[in-house]
């Protein structure tokens, strides 16, 4: 591994320390378990490449977000493939979550946030000020790090947003509640206590309920902001399997700090990095390419720095 200072626009001290650490890690890399893992991933990626060429669901063009004058991320151009899982990775504070919050215009809730560039969802310009944000958010759902079911019953958590979106027929609502809860594997666990408060569920169940609540609106894309990081390992793996099962039916964008998770589930990986005072997209490609032959030296350092 050869890295020179010239590779970075803004080589901070921290970067240097980080790279030193990476070097140490690399020397320990040649254990058989890792190779094994890699093999699995290769198989995984093989399956994806066998599928037909995916179309673009969301296309961002030179997208930047500023809080007052301070940029969160700048000049992100990315096309997000339909029916695939795209993972956004990178250190904290490099704009991954901010990027997500632009795609469903949730950044509208933050005062002093200003966006530049363009986001196309199909033919729709997401950043159009005249856009019907409510309709957009029905098409692009979002899941958060901390499960956030409403303080209502389990049934009402799903039914209430449906009613708000004009589905009033009780039988139709009941059937949507049942099928979405089945989709997230929660139906058997809660079918006898749909009237109980959702807050009584465990963290993992709450997160699955939140996913069910989003799926009930039949969105085209799901934005997930570290959906597993507040969960215990078992719940986390259940939710991860659930996310995998969403592939093809939904376009999933997931922010994760867990590189192993990104390797396991992502068709595409985007690496964000804090550079020259703001977050930048420094590498984007298929999971196979990013993890096996990273183009950018920082990517290589980052993915090797944390052992899978």
């Amino acid at each position: 591994m050869t890295l020179s200072k010239g590779d970075f626009d803004d080589p901070g001290d921290l970067d240097q320390i980080f790279l030193d650490l990476v070097e140490i890690e690399n020397n320990q890399m040649s254990n058989p378990q890792t190779t094994n893992n890699k093999q699995q991933i290769t198989n995984n990626q093989q399956q994806i490449t066998n599928n037909k060429q995916p179309t673009t669901k969301i296309q961002t063009e030179k997208l930047s977000l500023y809080y007052r004058a301070k940029p969160a991320f700048e000049d992100v151009t990315m096309s997000i493939a339909t029916g695939c899982i795209t993972a956004l990775v990178g250190p904290s504070g490099c704009g991954k979550s901010s990027f997500l919050s632009c795609l469903n215009r949730l950044k509208d809730l933050m005062p002093h946030a200003r966006v530049e560039g363009s986001i196309k969802l199909g033919d729709l310009e997401v950043l159009d000020p005249k856009l019907d944000v409510i309709a957009l958010r029905r098409r692009v759902g979002m899941i958060f790090q901390k499960p956030n079911p409403f303080p209502l019953s389990i049934w009402k958590n799903i039914a209430f947003p449906l009613r708000e979106h004009g589905i009033k027929n009780r039988e139709e609502i009941d059937s949507i509640v049942e099928t979405t809860l089945q989709d997230v594997g929660l139906w058997d666990e809660v079918k006898d206590r749909l009237k109980d408060s959702a807050l009584a569920l465990s963290g993992g169940q709450q997160q699955r309920l939140c996913i069910a609540r989003a799926l009930a609106l039949q969105p085209e894309a799901l934005l997930m902001d570290e959906p597993c990081s507040a969960l215990d390992p078992i719940s986390s793996s259940i939710v991860e399997d659930l996310i995998l099962s969403l592939r093809e039916k939904y376009t999933v964008l997931i922010v994760t700090h867990n590189l192993a998770q990104a390797k396991r589930i992502a068709d595409y990986v985007a690496l964000f990095w804090f550079q020259s005072g703001s977050g930048k997209l420094i590498e984007f490609g298929s999971g196979k390419q990013v993890f096996e032959s990273p183009q950018h030296s920082l990517t290589e350092a980052y993915i090797n720095g944390i052992r899978g």
């Binding site: 409510i134 958010r137 958060f144 409403f150 947003p161």
Partner: protein
């Protein structure tokens, strides 16, 4: 060396625990005094109410032909109903007004206006009740008089009380909305729920217990309010047949007659005081039950 240190630290601990003991006993005494005051007041009320209750029993307070203590007639029903009507009317109007004003403050008003508005409501809470009563007498009563004489009426009482208890419910609703976790609101927004849909479907259920507490506190204030009600309601002892009829509240009854009441008359006023106390106790118990749920 270490032994010294140990000794010093144990001495210090003992001193500290002695200071704690002193503090605890002072706090116990203060708490006992506070609790005893309430008990003494109730005890005193009962003591003063006993003579008339022994002479007449409880039934005449509801069945006598009128309130005329000089002739031994003690019907409190008109005053009881007066208090009930004026409280119910003002709570029914003030609750939605107060809650909606808090909704406006929290979710619709720009930050500067919300800040100014809150200070204004706090000011409303601080105005002495006699000033409200005076304003009611000078402005409200003549206005109602021009619509339907005499002007001093149940309606005037309801309007004055509404204004007086509005800050209570508005400020409590505002505080309970502010306590709602932000995740709920962000979650609702990301599901594409409208602002109003979020408020009705998520905010109100989440703030339910706070809102109930607000309603109970404003009801307590409305029941207990004396001065303003006395000044604008006309104080005729009768069951009002319309909102334009004058009426007398229990509190006003005590304030008006206490100065010259003697014997069983005086004792009967304490019975009505006991009745008011009973209503407040019921409200406090209700709010405790709601808060525990």
């Amino acid at each position: 060396m270490t032994l010294w240190k140990l000794k010093i630290s144990s001495l210090f601990n003992r001193l500290q625990s002695q200071a704690d003991l002193l503090l605890i006993s002072i706090l116990r005494i203060l708490a006992t005094i506070t609790g005893a005051i309430v008990l003494f007041i109730v005890f005193f009320l009962i003591l003063e109410a006993i003579p008339v209750l022994q002479d007449e029993g409880i039934v005449p307070f509801f069945t006598d032909s009128s309130w005329n203590p000089a002739e031994g007639l003690y019907n409190l029903t008109p005053m009881l109903l007066g208090t009930l009507f004026v409280t119910l009317g003002s709570v029914l109007i003030a609750t939605p007004l107060g809650i909606l004003s808090a909704v406006f403050c929290q979710y619709y008003a720009p930050a500067k206006i919300a800040y100014f508005y809150r200070r204004l409501i706090e000011l409303l809470a601080g105005i002495p009740s006699v000033v409200y009563g005076f304003w009611g007498l000078v402005v409200l009563v003549p206005l109602i008089n021009s619509i339907n004489p005499p002007g001093t009426s149940l309606l005037a009482g309801i309007i004055i009380l509404t204004i007086m208890i509005l800050p209570t419910i508005a400020l409590i609703a505002d505080a309970s909305f502010a306590k709602i976790p932000e995740e709920y609101l962000i979650g609702a927004a990301s599901l594409g729920l409208s602002q109003w849909g979020t408020i009705v479907g998520v905010v109100f259920p989440a703030a339910k217990s706070g809102l109930f507490t607000g309603v109970i506190l404003e009801t307590g204030r409305a029941i207990g309010e004396t001065m303003a009600v006395l000044m604008v309601c006309g104080n005729v002892v009768q069951i009002p047949r319309s909102i334009f009829d004058p009426m007398r509240a229990l509190t006003a009854n005590i304030a008006l007659e206490m100065a010259y009441a003697l014997g069983n008359h005086r004792s009967a006023l304490f019975v009505s005081g006991l009745g008011l106390m009973g209503m407040i106790i019921i409200l406090v118990v209700a709010s405790e039950i709601i808060n525990e749920q």
